[in-house]
C-alpha cells in the first residue's frame, strides 16, 4: 500500500513547522504523537524540543500521575488557571491516568483551545490515542496533526537508548532542584523504560542503570521504601556483573537512603549509612574517582554530623575532616555547586561545634556559608541559596562578638533574602519566617515580628512556640484578647510545656481572671524543670515573687547572654522592669 509516510524525524520537523505557523498566525493547534515504546518517545521528544528551541519556543510539560486527583484531570481548567506563555507549547503525558475526566473536558470544551490559541502536543500510547478518538470524537475532529511513532526499536537499540535516557538529567544538584512534578515524571519514564526491558543478560547493564537512577530519584522524592527497593535491585545486578564501580555508587545511594529513614532507631540507621559510605569509599578512592570520592566523603560528613549518639564534639570533628577531604576535589573550578554544598555543610558543622572558641567557630561557619553563596545563587540553585542564607542568618544571630544590633540586622537581611525565593517548600518557608520573626522580636521590631509569626502560623498552625511568641508580642501591644487566643492555642498544642501555662497565666491575670491564672501558674510550676532558669524567672515574675524571679534571671542570662535583649521586653517579666537589679542585668550589653 502506498502509505509510506516520511521518516519520523522529518515528520517531527513538519510538526515543529506547523506549531510555529500556529504561533505566527495566532491560532490554536493540537497534535497527537502516538508511540509504543518509552525509549522511542523520549528520543523523539528530545528531537522536537530541540527543533522548537531553534524556533525560539519551549515545551512546558504537564503530566497526569496515577494518583492525580480527579479535579486535576480537567486539563483545560488547569490551563485557564496557568495559561501558557506565547512561546510555550504544552506537552501532555500520562493521559490514561486522567480518564474519563480528561476525555469529557476535551470533548465538551474543545473550543477553549482555539479560543485561547493554546498549542498542545499530546504524547499518547496506542491505547490512549484510541480511547481519545473513540470517546472524545468531537475533540478529535479538532486535532490538526497526528504523528505515529510505531517503531519499537530492536532490543539492543532499546537497551542502549534506555541506558542513555536513564542518565538524562541525573546530575545530583539538578535532582535536588527539580520541581516534584518533574521529578515524578522522570520516575515514571524510567519505570516504563524498565518495564519495556526483558530480564536477560543483554539488558543487565541498562536495568542496573535504571534501578540505580530510580533509587536516586525516589530518594529525592522522599519515597524511601521504593528507593531502597531499587537500590537493592541495582546492587544485586552490580554483583552479578561484578561491577565494582556500580557497586560503590549504589552503596553511596543506600547510605543516603538509610541516613534519611524516618522510622526505626535513628542512630542505628545512621550507623548503617556510615557503613555503606565506607564500603563505597573502598572503591571510590581519590586516585580512581576523585569526584565520587568527594561526594561520598560529603555524605559521610553529613552522617557523622547528624549522629545523635557518641561524643558530639568528636562526631563533628570527624564530619569536618570528611568535608575537608571532599573539598580537595570539590573545588570551585571542578564542581562549583558541589563545592557550595560542601561549604554549607562544613559551615553547619562549625556552627554546631560545642568545643573551642564559639565566636571563632561561628566566624568560620560564616566564611563557609559565604563561600557557598558564591555559587548557590538565586538563579543557579534557588532553594539551596535560600537554605544557605537561612544558615548564615542563624550564624549572625548567634554570634557573640561584634555589634549585636548589626549582627541581628545582617541576620534579618539573610532571612529576607531566603524568603524572596519563590516556590519554597512550606516546611522551609515556615522555618525562615519563624527565624525572621524571632530576630525581629529580639531587635524590638514588634510589628515586623508579628507579621512574620503570622506568616509562619498561616503555613503551619501547629507551631506552639510561634503562638507563644506571637501571644507575648500582642501582650506587649496591649492586645490582650489576641494574646489570650494565641497562648490558649499554644497550651492546647503543648499542654505538657510548663511555660505555655505561665504565659497564659500572665495574660489571664491582666484580664482580671485571677482564678484561672492561678490554676495555670500552679500547672506551670509543676512542669517547668528546675534548671530552666529563664522560664522560672518568668513564672516567678508573673506570680509576683520578685526576688526569686531576679535570681533565676541572673542564672539564665549567665547561661545565655543572647537572651538579654528579649528579657528587657518580655511581657512575662514586666513586673521586674523597674527593679534596679533587672535594669542592671538587662543593660549589660552583650559582647560590649
Amino acid at each position: 500500500m502506498a502509505d509510506t509516510l516520511p521518516p519520523v524525524e522529518r515528520r517531527l520537523d513538519l510538526l515543529a513547522g506547523a506549531l510555529d505557523r500556529a504561533r505566527r498566525y495566532d491560532t490554536g493547534f493540537i497534535a497527537f504523537i502516538i508511540y509504543r515504546a518509552e525509549s522511542a518517545r523520549a528520543l523523539f521528544e528530545n528531537i522536537l524540543v530541540n527543533r522548537l528551541r531553534t524556533l525560539n519556543q519551549r515545551a512546558r510539560r504537564m503530566w497526569f500521575q496515577p494518583d492525580s486527583p480527579p479535579a486535576a484531570h480537567d486539563l483545560l481548567s488547569r490551563l485557564l488557571e496557568t495559561p501558557p506563555a506565547a512561546d510555550e507549547v504544552i506537552f501532555v503525558y500520562g493521559l490514561q491516568h486522567a480518564f474519563p475526566g480528561l476525555l469529557n473536558a476535551l470533548n465538551y470544551r474543545r473550543e477553549l483551545i482555539p479560543d485561547h490559541r493554546w498549542r498542545l502536543v499530546f504524547w499518547a500510547l496506542d491505547d490512549e490515542a484510541t480511547r481519545v478518538m473513540r470517546d472524545a470524537p468531537d475533540f478529535w475532529a479538532f486535532v490538526n496533526q497526528v504523528l505515529e511513532v510505531p517503531e519499537v526499536p530492536p532490543l539492543e537499540e532499546r537497551a542502549q537508548l534506555a541506558g542513555t535516557l536513564a542518565w538524562a538529567g541525573m546530575d545530583d544538584s539538578e535532582i535536588h532542584n527539580l520541581m516534584p512534578a518533574e521529578r515524578r515524571a522522570r520516575i515514571a519514564l524510567r519505570e516504563r523504560l524498565l518495564d519495556e526491558l526483558p530480564e536477560s543478560e543483554d539488558t543487565q547493564s541498562t536495568r542496573a542503570d535504571l534501578h540505580y537512577t530510580l533509587a536516586g530519584l525516589y530518594w529525592a522524592d522522599r519515597q524511601l521504601g521504593k528507593a531502597e527497593e531499587h537500590a537493592q535491585a541495582a546492587l544485586a545486578l552490580a554483583q552479578q556483573m561484578d561491577d565494582a564501580e556500580l557497586h560503590a555508587r549504589v552503596m553511596n545511594v543506600l547510605g543516603l537512603i538509610y541516613a534519611d529513614l524516618p522510622t526505626g532507631d535513628r542512630a542505628a540507621n545512621l550507623a548503617r549509612a556510615i557503613a555503606c559510605y565506607e564500603a563505597a569509599l573502598r572503591f571510590r578512592t581519590p586516585e580512581a574517582a576523585p569526584l565520587d570520592y568527594a561526594a561520598t566523603q560529603n555524605n559521610l560528613g553529613n552522617a557523622y554530623r547528624n549522629l545523635p549518639t557518641g561524643d558530639r564534639a568528636a562526631n563533628l570533628a570527624r564530619a569536618i575532616a570528611c568535608y575537608e577531604a571532599a573539598l580537595r576535589f570539590y573545588t570551585p573550578e571542578a564542581a562549583p555547586l558541589d563545592y557550595a554544598m560542601t561549604q554549607n555543610n562544613l559551615g553547619l558543622a562549625y556552627a554546631d561545634l560545642p568545643t573551642g572558641d564559639r565566636a571563632a567557630n561561628l566566624a568560620r561557619a560564616i566564611a563557609c556559608y559565604e563561600a557557598a553563596l558564591r555559587f548557590y545563587t538565586p538563579e543557579a540553585a534557588p532553594l539551596d541559596y535560600a537554605m544557605t542564607q537561612n544558615n548564615l542568618g542563624e550564624a549572625y544571630r548567634n554570634l557573640p562578638t561584634g555589634d549585636r544590633a548589626a549582627n541581628l540586622a545582617r541576620a534579618i537581611a539573610c532571612y529576607e533574602a531566603a524568603l524572596r525565593i519563590p516556590n519554597l517548600s512550606p516546611w522551609e518557608e515556615v522555618k525562615y519566617w519563624s527565624n525572621l520573626a524571632d530576630v525581629c522580636r529580639e531587635q524590638g521590631q514588634v510589628d515586623a515580628a508579628i507579621e512574620a509569626y503570622q506568616h509562619a502560623i498561616a503555613l503551619d498552625p501547629e507551631r506552639a512556640d510561634d503562638h507563644t511568641m506571637l501571644g507575648s508580642l500582642y501582650e506587649l501591644q496591649g492586645r490582650l484578647d489576641d494574646a489570650l487566643r494565641e497562648h490558649q492555642q499554644a497550651v492546647t498544642l503543648e499542654p505538657g510545656m510548663g511555660m505555655r501555662h505561665g504565659s497564659l497565666a500572665s495574660v489571664l491575670r491582666k484580664l482580671g481572671r485571677d482564678e484561672e491564672a492561678a490554676a495555670h501558674l500552679a500547672r506551670a510550676r509543676e512542669l517547668i524543670p528546675p534548671d530552666d532558669h529563664y522560664n522560672l524567672a518568668c513564672l516567678e515574675a508573673i506570680a509576683g515573687n520578685t526576688d526569686a524571679a531576679l535570681d533565676h534571671l541572673e542564672k539564665a542570662l549567665a547561661q545565655n547572654p543572647a537572651r538579654r535583649d528579649w528579657a528587657a521586653r518580655d511581657p512575662d517579666l514586666e513586673s521586674l522592669r523597674d527593679h534596679p537589679r533587672f535594669k542592671r542585668m538587662t543593660n549589660e550589653r552583650m559582647g560590649e
Binding site: A2, Y108, F142
Partner: protein, 427 residues
C-alpha cells in the same frame, strides 16, 4: 468565551504559508464570511420558512447534522437572517457552557433557557416591567428558601437577580452532587412554575420588542447518546411547553431513529455534500464537487494547488467540510516542508494517509466487513451496527434526494488491502 478571529484569516491566501491558517479545522466561520459556500439542499431555507410562516403556538424545531458538516455556521446564519430578526428576538447559546453533558436533564435545559432569555435580553438593553421582576424575584425567594432549608447554600436577598440565580443553580448542579439532587428534587414537581416564568419572560419580550423569542440551543447533540435519548424521549413533552420558538440541536442517531418519527415533521437535517451518485462512483455529482472546490478556492488562490491535487482532496473529503480542511492543512505542512510553492498530489496523499491511519487504529475486523458491505451497496442495511461508524465518520451519510451512505474515501485503500469479502451476518 467568545473570541473574534482576526480579519486577515478570512482573506483569500496568496501563499501557502497564509493558506495554512485558512484551513484550521477549528476556525469558526462568522456570519458574512467570504468563505461561506452555498450548498444544494441546504435545510436552512426550509427551517427559516417554517419559522417565518408559523402561526399559533410558536414552533419547536430539531436540527441535526454529522460532525463537521457546518451546523454551527448554519445556525449562526439563521439567527443573523434579517427576516428572522424582524419577527424573532433570537437567544442563541450552547448547553456546553453551563451544563454537565454527562448528566444533563430537562431541568438544566430549562434553567439555562430562563437564564439566557433574561440575561441576553437585559444585556441588550431590554427592560422588563416591575411587576414581572417582582414575580420572578418572589419565585426565586421561595425556591432559595426551600433549597437552603434542605441544606443548599444559595445566596438569598435581592443582590442576585433571577438570571444570576439560574446561572448559579446551573453551576451548583454541575459541580456539587448534593445540590444537584436538591435542585432537581425541588424543581421537578414544580416544573410548570419554571416554564411559567420562561413564558412570562417571553411574553414580556414580545410585548416590549414586538418580537417573539426564538431560542436556539447548540450542542444538545454532544452528550452521550443515552443522555440525549433520555432527554428527548422522556422529557420531550416538557421541552415542547415553553411558549417561545425553539430550535434544538439533536444527535443524528435520534433524527433517524424510528422511535422519534413524531419529531420528523419539524426536523431539519444538514447532509454531507454528495460527490457522486449512489453506487456510481465513476459518476461525479457536479453540484457537490463545485461546492467543495469553492470551499477551497474561496480560501486560497488556485495557483497554490495543482488541479489533480485539488480533485484528489475533494474526493478524499467525502463531502465533509471539516475533512477537506484537515486534508489541506496537513497537505500544506508537507508542501512547505518540501519547499514547494503549491500543493501536489503527493501532499494530499500524505494528508489522507494520516486520516486513514487514525481509522486503522479504531476499526475492528467486524467493522471492516460492515464497511465492505457499505462500499458495495451504498445502503444503510444495519443501522444499529452502523451507528458507531457514522459517529466516527468512517461511514458518511448522504440524504440528497434519497438516503444512502458510503465509506469515507480515505478508507478505500485499507479496504482493498484487507480484502475482507465476507458480507456481515445479521446481528
Amino acid at each position: 468565551m467568545m473570541v473574534s478571529q482576526p480579519e486577515y484569516l478570512f482573506v483569500r491566501a496568496k501563499t501557502l504559508e497564509e493558506a495554512w491558517s485558512r484551513f484550521d479545522p477549528a476556525l469558526p466561520l462568522p456570519v458574512g464570511s467570504p468563505f461561506y459556500v452555498e450548498r444544494e439542499d441546504n435545510p436552512l431555507g426550509r427551517l427559516q420558512r417554517a419559522l417565518l410562516l408559523a402561526r399559533g403556538n410558536p414552533p419547536k424545531c430539531f436540527f441535526a447534522g454529522h460532525r463537521g458538516s457546518g451546523k454551527s455556521t448554519e445556525l449562526n446564519r439563521l439567527v443573523d437572517n434579517a427576516d428572522i430578526r424582524q419577527r424573532y428576538w433570537p437567544v442563541k447559546f450552547s448547553v456546553r457552557d453551563e451544563c454537565d453533558f454527562n448528566d444533563l436533564t430537562y431541568i438544566e435545559v430549562l434553567l439555562a433557557m430562563g437564564a439566557q432569555i433574561f440575561s441576553q435580553y437585559r444585556a441588550a438593553g431590554g427592560r422588563m416591567k416591575d411587576d414581572l421582576l417582582g414575580e420572578l424575584e418572589a419565585w426565586k425567594g421561595r425556591t432559595v428558601t426551600r433549597l437552603n432549608e434542605k441544606g443548599a447554600t444559595f445566596e438569598s436577598g435581592t443582590g442576585l437577580d433571577i438570571g444570576k440565580f439560574f446561572l448559579s443553580a446551573l453551576l451548583k448542579v454541575k459541580t456539587e452532587h448534593i445540590t444537584r439532587t436538591l435542585v432537581r428534587q425541588e424543581i421537578a414537581p414544580r416544573v410548570s412554575e419554571l416554564i411559567g416564568l420562561i413564558n412570562l419572560m417571553s411574553a414580556e419580550v414580545l410585548a416590549q420588542s414586538k418580537r417573539q423569542v426564538l431560542v436556539v440551543i447548540e450542542d444538545m447533540d454532544k452528550p452521550p447518546l443515552e443522555v440525549s435519548r433520555k432527554l428527548f424521549e422522556g422529557a420531550l413533552t416538557t421541552l415542547m411547553q415553553p411558549t417561545c420558538a425553539i430550535v434544538y440541536t439533536v444527535p443524528v442517531s435520534i433524527y433517524f431513529d424510528p422511535a422519534f418519527t413524531h419529531i420528523r415533521d419539524n426536523s431539519y437535517f444538514l447532509p454531507n455534500l454528495k460527490l457522486h451518485e449512489k453506487k456510481q462512483r465513476a459518476q461525479p455529482h457536479k453540484d457537490g464537487i463545485r461546492a467543495m472546490r469553492a470551499f477551497v478556492l474561496a480560501r486560497m488562490t488556485d495557483t497554490l494547488i495543482a488541479g489533480d491535487a485539488l480533485d484528489e482532496a475533494v474526493k478524499n473529503s467525502g463531502g465533509v467540510f471539516r475533512e477537506i480542511a484537515h486534508i489541506l492543512q496537513r497537505a500544506i505542512d508537507n508542501a512547505l516542508a518540501r519547499q514547494s510553492a503549491r500543493i501536489e498530489r503527493v501532499d494530499v496523499a500524505w494528508a489522507t494517509a494520516q486520516i486513514r491511519s487514525s481509522f486503522r487504529r479504531l476499526l475492528t475486523q467486524e467493522d471492516y466487513q460492515l464497511l465492505q458491505d457499505v462500499r458495495e451497496h451504498n445502503e444503510v442495511r444495519y443501522p444499529e451496527r452502523l451507528g458507531p461508524l457514522f459517529h466516527l465518520l468512517a461511514v458518511l451519510e448522504y440524504t440528497n434526494g434519497e438516503n444512502w451512505c458510503d465509506v469515507h474515501p480515505a478508507l478505500d485503500p485499507l479496504l482493498d488491502e484487507m480484502g475482507a469479502q465476507t458480507a456481515p451476518t445479521e446481528a
